[in-house]
């Protein structure tokens, strides 16, 4: 009797707890969905409305009267759109292939081998990420122009009958590939770092060669990271304007983003058509994301389990000098050459270089571009604003992405699939078009969001949410459930488990995503263009001003300033994070 009663009380108690937990989950999902609606759904709907009408939703009111699919039909019937789409797919496809090959190779070299000076290679290989695409485009046009490119000038000087032409689709593929290799590197290296090497050891004990182990064990195990990195770099390339704008313009080679930019920049501007092209771009991306989920679903990729391990380095023997050589070539092509081009442009009075000898004509060099940019009061203002926006975006966006990523991958709450889908939506909307959508959507909000730094930060958080959530997802997918279960068994609640288990284990991923977010926010141009006002101008907008003002010298000088600034900030943050993180993870696992 007594026993029965106590059991009944227990059941009722656990029932009450269950209800409470369910209510909490419901509230949590509702909260996330509300945030996502504000950040994503509402602006995308304004965009869709723009694509389906010929009106500006703010000017003409949100009306459904002029609804038609004329814009879509015009766009679909235009052979130039088809051509731009084809160019886009070739450039991004080819670029992704190169980026994955290079990124994967270098994350393996850096994380898993005893290649000399690999720390230095690792640090330097991230540098291209700091340079805005526009700057990368400018640097490669200085290097690879068929007529005035420094590479061709040097070939001629060396008496070689070689010739490069980066004003071509293949030039675009190459620059995309090397420029986004660090992107893939960032994903795959953190996965490799977190991987328990015992599986590899097992393969080797069973007689597999190092090479066979790499392809049959290591790479398949970090497949989520590879696929995420691949997909993301493809998608990010889809949305890049700067590189194709600089390299494609001289031969009238259009990709979808440059096409959209043209539409918004024409006189009169055709935003509604641009919105229609953007929706097509979104559909392509949607398809890709679906594909990724199909490929990854139903498999287990947990490589971090509740067992301590020591990351091990493969002893390459004399071959380590080959990997070192590869590292040097990579650095030379990806970092040193473009940086040299920018340095020459920043310090040279004019970029007319007749021959190799004139490259070393010292009276041609001066600090005039630096004087000139720091004479401009907007320069310091824009740096301050950009850093402020970058920090807000990284912190708030990082926290939101963590919440979303955790909900999607570590819980079974209803509605998590919708959260996944919505948070992925903004991925392929070109910044320029989503910039207009944010302007349309948020300008009317009472309380004066418009004209503040927050409207920029919110736009960046929304725009880069897919990148951040995906970057974090790889970390979540790797952590075995048994670790969390262990914490629950020990009486930790959900938040306690997150704080003591998930967060510390996912730390490299969290830091990498926040760093990524910071860099992306500082570089982002498209959506800033519409949202900045006179006292919230950011660096990227000023950089475009310099470029559009026909000042390659000032553009280069300012981008050097930006690169150095980002390098110092991120280097500092990483150093801090690493020194505080060391030991703490090991401690917790112990």
């Amino acid at each position: 009797m007594n026993g029965q009663a106590s059991r009944r009380i227990e059941v009722t108690r656990s029932g009450a707890e269950d209800t409470r937990r369910r209510a909490f989950a419901g509230l949590w999902v509702a909260l996330l969905l509300a945030i996502l609606t504000f950040l994503v759904v509402y602006p995308v709907l304004t965009l869709l409305l723009g694509a389906l009408t010929d009106t500006n939703p703010v000017v003409d009111g949100f009306s459904l009267r002029h609804l038609s699919i004329t814009n879509f039909l015009t766009v679909l019937a235009n052979p130039n759109v088809a051509e731009a789409l084809f160019n886009t797919l070739v450039a991004c496809g080819g670029g992704t292939a190169i980026a994955v090959a290079i990124g994967l190779l270098f994350s393996w070299i850096v994380v898993r081998t005893n290649t000399p000076f690999k720390g230095f290679i690792a640090a330097a290989s991230i540098l291209p990420l700091f340079a805005p695409p526009l700057v990368a485009g400018v640097a490669w046009s200085i290097l690879g122009s068929p007529r005035t490119g420094l590479i061709n000038t040097l070939f001629k000087w060396a008496g070689l009958d070689w010739h490069v032409d980066f004003y071509s689709l293949w030039g675009l593929v190459f620059v995309f590939g090397i420029y986004y290799a660090p992107y893939v590197y960032m994903f795959t290296s953190s996965a490799l770092r977190n991987m328990d090497p015992s599986l590899e050891e097992a393969a080797e004990i069973s007689g597999a060669s190092a090479f066979a182990t790499l392809f049959s064990v290591t790479f398949p195990l970090i497949m989520p990271a590879i696929v995420s990195g691949m997909l993301l770099s493809f998608i990010v390339m889809l949305g890049i304007y700067g590189i194709p704008a600089v390299l494609g313009a001289p031969i009238n080679l259009a990709v979808l983003t440059t096409y959209i930019f043209k539409l918004t920049n024409w006189s009169p501007p055709l935003y509604n058509t641009a919105a229609a092209v953007a929706i097509i771009l979104m559909m392509v991306t949607g398809g890709l994301v679906f594909l990724q989920q199909k490929v990854l679903s139903g498999r287990s990729y947990t490589t971090v389990a509740g067992k301590a391990f020591r990351p091990r380095n493969l002893d390459l023997g004399p071959w380590r000098w080959l990997t070192f050589g590869l590292g040097v070539v990579y650095l030379l092509v990806v970092v040193i050459l473009p940086s040299l081009a920018l340095i020459v442009a920043a310090f040279r009075k004019f970029m007319f270089i007749r021959d190799a000898a004139s490259l070393f004509d010292m009276p041609q060099y001066s600090l005039m571009h630096f004087y000139s940019i720091f004479d401009n009061p907007l320069t310091l203002n824009s740096i301050y604003n950009a850093v402020e926006v970058g920090i807000i975006t990284a912190v708030v966006g990082g926290a939101l992405a963590f919440a979303i990523g955790y909900t999607i991958h570590r819980t079974r709450v209803p509605g998590r699939r919708s959260i996944d889908l919505i948070s992925t939506l903004p991925v392929a909307i070109p910044g320029l078009v989503i910039g207009v959508a944010y302007l349309w959507a948020w300008i009317g909000i009472p309380g004066g969001l418009y004209g503040t730094i927050w409207i920029l930060a919110l736009a960046f958080i929304a725009r880069f949410m897919p990148d951040t959530v995906k970057a974090l997802s790889t970390s979540f997918l790797q952590i075995h459930r048994e670790l969390e279960e262990a914490a629950w068994v020990c009486g930790k609640g959900m938040l306690g488990t997150i704080a003591t288990i998930v967060l510390p284990l996912a730390r490299p991923g969290v830091i990498a995503s926040m760093t990524l977010l910071f860099v992306l926010a500082i570089r982002e141009l498209g959506s800033s263009l519409f949202l900045y006002t006179s006292n919230t101008m950011v660096m990227s907008v000023l950089l475009l001003d310099y470029y559009e003002g026909g000042n390659i010298g000032k553009t280069a000088a300012f981008s050097l300033v930006q690169t150095v600034l980002l390098g110092v900030l991120i280097g500092g943050a990483n150093w801090l994070a690493r020194s505080s993180a060391q030991g703490s993870i090991a401690q917790r696992i112990r």
Partner: protein, 345 residues
């Protein structure tokens, strides 16, 4: 006695000088507005300036204005033409137009928005060429002109006229800004067809020009030697020439198409007096002279106070487009231009 007269004279001269000296700034400032306006502008202390012109060029203008009126801070928002119009329309519709001045290169895009603007005319309104005005509310703050530039290191036999740009010897050496890029380029395209001949485009296209989205990157390409020759806005290339870049620039004898801007003060301006003072200064003889001499602009004043370097009014005729045609011909002519030059939309 003589000494006393001399002393009195001296006192009178000194006093007179004193009056003249103390009066000088006041009368000079009067050119830009009444003392009440100036006082009200100084009390406002700032203005927000939306412009489609290049930020750097406008920084120089603001700096010069601040030499006169250091108390007034000019905050600038710069965007390319199409984007600027979208921003202005959207902000205005949401009741959040921040601009105290909107300054735009494409008058055809500004005209439909004329109701947003308040009545405004500078003190020297009567001195302006009526051809340059599309509305009594919108003023040609800047007037910019087309010229031809070439890289003097690359071109040994330079062109001397617009017609020379059709010569086969310049095959693949010329750059051009495409027609759809905005008001200034459209003015040039109109000029080419109406003044240089119906077949000018086709002849020019036969030299396979490289097409650029905007004049400034093209000017940079000219300096670098990516292209060797091209029609360019004088103010875009003038600074580079002055700084010593290997380029030469000239106004062709067939005429120089000019594009007057349209600048006005929105009804919602939060700093209307500062805005008026800034526009008054820009439109004054002093402001226009500065823009001509330092930036390489022309002016829409009936009697130009100066000419840019290399501009001989006896040789070069300025060419204003007929505004009706400027609006009506735009669509069909740009489409034809795109076809002629193989520019894909």
């Amino acid at each position: 006695m003589v000494a006393r007269i001399a002393k009195m004279l001296a006192v009178a001269v000194i006093a007179g000088l004193g009056i003249a000296l103390s009066g000088a700034p006041a009368s000079a400032q009067a050119e830009f507005g009444s003392p009440e306006l100036i006082a009200a502008a100084k009390a406002e202390g700032k203005l927000v300036y939306y412009t489609a012109n290049f930020a750097e060029i406008e920084q120089l203008v603001i700096k010069e204005f601040n030499k006169r009126f250091p108390e007034i801070k000019v905050e600038m928002v710069r965007a390319p033409g199409g984007q600027l119009i979208t921003r202005v329309r959207t902000e205005a519709a949401a009741g959040k137009l921040i601009a105290d001045i909107v300054d735009h290169s494409d008058r055809a895009l500004m005209l439909p928005l004329v109701d947003l603007f308040q009545d405004y005319a500078p003190p020297n309104a009567a001195d302006y060429n009526p051809e340059a005005l599309i509305s009594p509310k919108l003023w040609p703050r800047a007037t910019i002109a087309w010229a031809i530039g070439y890289n003097s290191e690359l071109v040994k036999n330079p062109p001397k006229s617009w017609m020379d740009l059709t010569k086969p010897e310049y095959d693949k050496m010329i750059g051009q800004v495409f027609a759809q890029s905005g008001g200034t380029t459209w003015t040039r395209i109109m000029f080419e067809r109406q003044v240089l001949g119906e077949d000018y485009w086709a002849k020019q296209a036969a030299t396979h020009p490289v097409l650029y989205p905007s004049g400034a990157p093209m000017a940079d390409a000219l300096v670098r030697g990516e292209i060797a020759i091209g029609p360019l806005l004088y103010n875009v290339i003038y600074q580079k020439q002055r700084d010593g870049a290997p380029i030469k620039i000239f106004f062709p004898p067939e005429g120089s198409p000019v594009n007057p801007y349209a600048s006005g003060i929105p009804k919602t301006a939060a700093h209307p007096n500062a805005a008026k003072l800034f526009l008054n200064w820009c439109l004054s003889k002093e402001g226009q002279t500065f823009m001509i001499k330092e930036l390489g602009n022309l002016t829409s004043l009936k009697v130009p106070p100066a000419y840019p370097e290399g501009f001989d009014p006896k040789v070069v005729k300025v060419w204003y487009p007929n505004f009706d045609q400027y609006v009506k011909l735009h669509g069909p002519w740009v489409a034809e231009w795109d076809k002629t030059f193989g520019y894909r939309q």
